[in-house]
Amino acid sequence: MAAPQIPNLNTFRRGRGRGRGTGHVENGPGHPTGKDRVVQGTDNDASVSRMSAVELRYLDDPYATALTPSGSVTRRFPIINRGTYVRTTAIDRLVTRFLSPYSPEAPIRKKQVISLGAGSDTRIFRLFSARQPPDIVYHELDFAVNTATKIQAIRSTPSLQRALGLDSSRDNVTVSEAGDALHSPSYHIHPVDLRSLSADSSLSETLPGVDRELPTLLISECCLIYLSPTEAAQVVSFFTEHVFGPSSEATAGEDTQQCSQAPLGLVLYEPIRPDDPFGRTMVSNLAARGIQLQTLHKYASLEAQRARLREHGLSSGQAAADIDFIWERWVSEEEKERVSSLEMLDEMEEWRLLARHYCIAWGWRDGNDVEAFEGWSTIQAQPGE
């Protein structure tokens, strides 16, 4: 049992550790500023929290160890573990329901996932290990320093390669010279500063392998929140309007445009409700660590998140729920009992406070396939603010 009381020690350690990676960054896209480094470091928080939840058996994730920086294993407090559990399983559910055919009779159609600021996320490995050969194309976008770390982990860990079905002997994998980009038929790691994405640049150069025709799910798991409101909106618009916008051939009316577009969904996981005492404290505590949640005030409520999805043209459906709601309503009684028995969670009031300040929002447009997001229709959303 390490000392969870002083998580700031980890921050110090991380600060030193990151220095090693800067060599890659100099040549890579997006020269990180001090603030960027802090944001990149949040991935470490997430992976340490995931490792803690895995070790205590909240989550079953055989790939967590390989993607957690060694020496940073820390046992988190029970409420953090439960939060990591709820967040991970909730996004898993949205992803799985998107990927699975809605009905057994429905034809299996290849689908695409684009994960923004994916960092050390293990979802790709968990998905691919159960889907060989993969019927999906999976993209991860992050700062070069983070993608290089991940590619290094994949290169040195056979179990990760096996999960991906990668076979270096068959020459189906290419890694960039800097070691920060990876391309294979169904898995791509893109070293990219999201703020540099622009409609002016060629997609095949910036994000090679992205297929404009596939039903696609965008995921931002605590990523866009670190950008300025303008930048965050631009990143989403880059995908909704440029990459998956009206195809150039479609010159007819709006209806035709709609129908020619690939189905597109967006899942957001973000803090909300910054204006109550807990929220204010959260903002100031994170600011003390150099972390600014720039869009927090703009998308401060469930309703604001739904409106955001609507404004981005995800017109077929917009929904949101906070983590407290998801724990109460999405998790079965049986599973709740299992999770509750893992650790004594004494801090019920604190749990509710914390869990009400994070939400998952999801929205989609059907485009040319009304069944693509049919699997989301039965997922319970939270009404109200």
């Binding site: 009381q5 998580p7 700031n8 003390a288 509750s340 406070l353």
Partner: protein
């Protein structure tokens, strides 16, 4: 200056004392605590405090707001350790004060004063980190086993002496007295009154919950509320001894039961608490566990607790328990309340929470609860309103008047000005 006084001085400066001294302190504390019953009797005036959770600098703020030991008589309702960064400094200071001024500070056990919980929530790790071994943790856990499970406050005054505001003290004191007796008052950390309620002295209100009060005699004119001694101005030492004998019967207000968590379906009388063999680790179930783990809730009867230990209990349970035991109030801690205190069930139970900005993350304020001394029973004349009620054939604990309650609300200590170490506490978030 004795070693103990030196240790107190050192701990007040947030500096630890040597392991050998901790060992000695814990030994003395056990000798003292072993003499206490499961339910300690405490005479008003007393200041009741909730969870501290190792937030040492906020404990110092609590003493600034509530007065120092031994000037103020304190009752801490457990959860001294875990979560905060200074569980050792906080608990050892409280323990030193207990050994130094045993009649001026009462410590009862919280659910975190347990071997099992402290290994999950931080105190164990802190001991290892600060002392290099588990020895001090073991000494402390042995003390935990001897802490009382509850306390009964006797002789509290039904009315409060209104606090004179610093800003306009000429108008404040006279104004609302005619309408009734000051029942509750909330003060901010600057000592300014932010809220108060008055108890009607005589009324035939249609409010059923206070009907029974209407038939109880009005407050004796020989003891106008203006003469009640507020706890703040009470001389050091008052209430520590003297009128303690049987004051539950002679006081106009009912006794106040203080426990960390709440009630238990296995406990229908305070006397049953006295029968528990408490000198052990907190069990996973049973009466002792419930007293430390249960929570009041807006339900009927008993319910399962989401905490996995203890129970939820509704207003009917509290009303019945208070009635049967001649209590006017249950004071408990255990649950974070954003405003620092929360009265429930027509004032039958109150939660007091004394850890501001809990875990450096929650943004809540904290509170302490002051109960004043009933001046009318300070002398030899023992009025007996409780018996008056009974002579009417109304053996109804509702005739027992609740004590006047003064809540002092305070915020987290400004850490930068208090010589905090450079390592600022960092709260975890999902990032």
């Amino acid at each position: 200056m004795s070693d103990l006084d030196r240790a107190i001085e050192q701990l007040r400066a947030c500096r630890l004392i040597p392991e050998s001294q901790v060992r000695e302190l814990c030994y003395k504390a056990r000798e003292l605590l072993i003499e206490e019953g499961n339910v300690v009797s405490v005479d008003a005036p007393v200041t009741i405090c909730g969870d501290i959770h190792g937030q040492f600098h906020d404990l110092m703020e609590l003493f600034r707001v509530g007065g120092d030991v031994p000037d103020t008589n304190y009752l801490f309702m457990g959860d001294f350790v875990d979560r905060g960064f200074y569980s050792l400094e906080s608990f050892l200071l409280l323990l030193c004060l207990k050994v130094r001024y045993p009649d001026r500070i009462t410590l009862i056990r919280g659910n975190h004063e347990s071997r099992q919980i402290t290994t999950v929530y931080g105190f164990y790790d802190e001991c290892i980190r600060k002392y290099g071994s588990a020895n001090v943790w073991r000494y402390c856990c042995e003390v935990f086993d001897y802490l009382a499970l509850g306390a009964i406050v006797l002789g509290a005054s039904s009315g409060l002496e209104p606090t004179t505001s610093y800003t306009n003290d000429t108008t404040q004191s006279t104004m609302p007295i005619d309408d009734g007796e000051l029942e509750t008052e909330v003060l901010n950390s600057q000592g300014e009154v932010t809220f108060s309620t008055y108890r009607p002295r005589q009324r035939s209100s249609s409010d059923t919950s206070t009907d029974s009060r209407a038939i109880s005699p009005p407050r004796d004119i020989s003891a106008p509320p203006g003469q009640a001694t507020p706890s703040r101005t009470g001389a050091p030492g008052t209430g520590a001894s003297g009128d303690g004998n049987g004051s539950a019967q002679t006081s106009r207000t009912g006794a106040v039961l203080c426990v960390h968590g709440g009630l238990s379906p296995l406990i229908d009388s305070v006397d049953k608490i006295r029968l528990i063999d408490r000198k052990q680790e907190v069990p996973h179930e049973g009466a002792m566990c419930d007293l430390l783990w249960s929570d009041p809730d807006e339900i009927e009867g008993w319910g399962l607790s989401p905490r996995g230990a203890g129970f939820l209990f509704g207003s009917d349970i509290v009303k019945q328990f208070n009635h049967l035991n001649g209590l006017s109030l249950v004071a408990r801690a255990h649950q974070l309340v954003m405003e620092g205190y929360k009265e429930m069930f027509d004032g039958g139970i109150v939660t007091v929470w004394s850890a501001p900005n809990y875990c450096y993350r929650c943004g809540n304020v904290a509170a302490i609860l002051e109960l004043g001394e009933d001046a009318s029973n300070g002398g030899t004349v023992a009025r007996s309103n409780g018996e008056y009620g009974r002579s009417n054939g109304v053996v109804d604990a509702n005739t027992v008047v609740s004590p006047g309650r003064r809540y002092r609300v305070f915020e987290a200590a400004a850490q930068d000005t208090r010589g905090m170490p450079a390592k600022k506490p960092v709260a975890d978030y999902f990032l």
